[in-house]
Amino acid sequence: MTWLKYRGQDFFSLDGINKRAMRLINESPMDEDIRYIERFLAGEHAGFEALVKKYQSRVLNIVYSMIGRDRDCDDIMQDVFLKVYHHLRGFNRASRFSTWLYRIVANSVYDLLRRRKTLVLDNDALETRASKDDDPQEALLAKEALNRVPSAYRMAIVLKDIEGLSYEEISHVLRCRIGTVESKIFRGRQYLREAILKGEGGVA
């Protein structure tokens, strides 16, 4: 038996779920993420879990590409999703949910990198888990090359090439101008090119 607040109005609920709000949410057309958020705000925990299911692998891929350690990845992922859980009510929808989420991910990753000061890589973390179609040599080369890119440029590269975000979306995530994103990607690729050409036995 709880009183729920939804869109400024108080509702009484026996099971913690606002039925009236749920009916409204299900009837009105809206973005999938917003629907999950509305369900969560109406008291349905499943709304939050749906968001987690949708984004957990994407968050992991960003974090893993940046950190390279499974143990730290778990800590960061828990930190990220708990922040989302506690601050979802404050999400103002000025940007897409994914942009807001990636910003939290980027901040958590940078916090960890600051704590670590220098990025020390586990050799285990470099083990590739590429699918059978991929060349394991290439996958390892890509991973090692990415780890040689300074973290300030690496985040832009990861968001662009691994998550497929546009320059504009990356500028919202990293809170910088599009020109800065362009510059970060350009410089990051120079590092990558050097590492890859060296790895392939070419001349950098």
């Binding site: 299911k53 692998s57 888990r129 990415l146």
Partner: protein
Amino acid sequence: MSECLRIQRLLSRYVDQEARESDAALVRTHLEGCSACRKEWAELARVKELIVKKERKTLPEELWPSRLRNALIREQNKAPDFSWDILGQFSRRLIPIPIGVILLSVGLLYWSVSQPMIRISTEDIGRESRDNGDSPGRDIGCLNFREGGG
């Protein structure tokens, strides 16, 4: 050469297919006639291809929802224990007390300094007693009494 530098700045966006149409046309025209920039473009395209093809991890659907469920339960069950945070909050509430004590001390000091100073020494009191014909006595502070009484 300056044309090549300009094109190379545009190449990253061109590889990402995010260059403006006018810039993309410029790059295409330039690449047809410049082998150095063509090599640069091919290398950048190769770099991008390698990273895009990098394997992605896929997690079991229920993994993090169940982990977070447990984490949230732990968070809710966690009783507020004594911590530096709590101490911090407690000490913040006590801040007015030392400030008040300091202000009071400064006020008292100011008050005592601003009073006219009267200096009476025991010698003065003794002299006054002799002038009045009283027997000399031992001066203790502002009191004057005779030993042996009487």
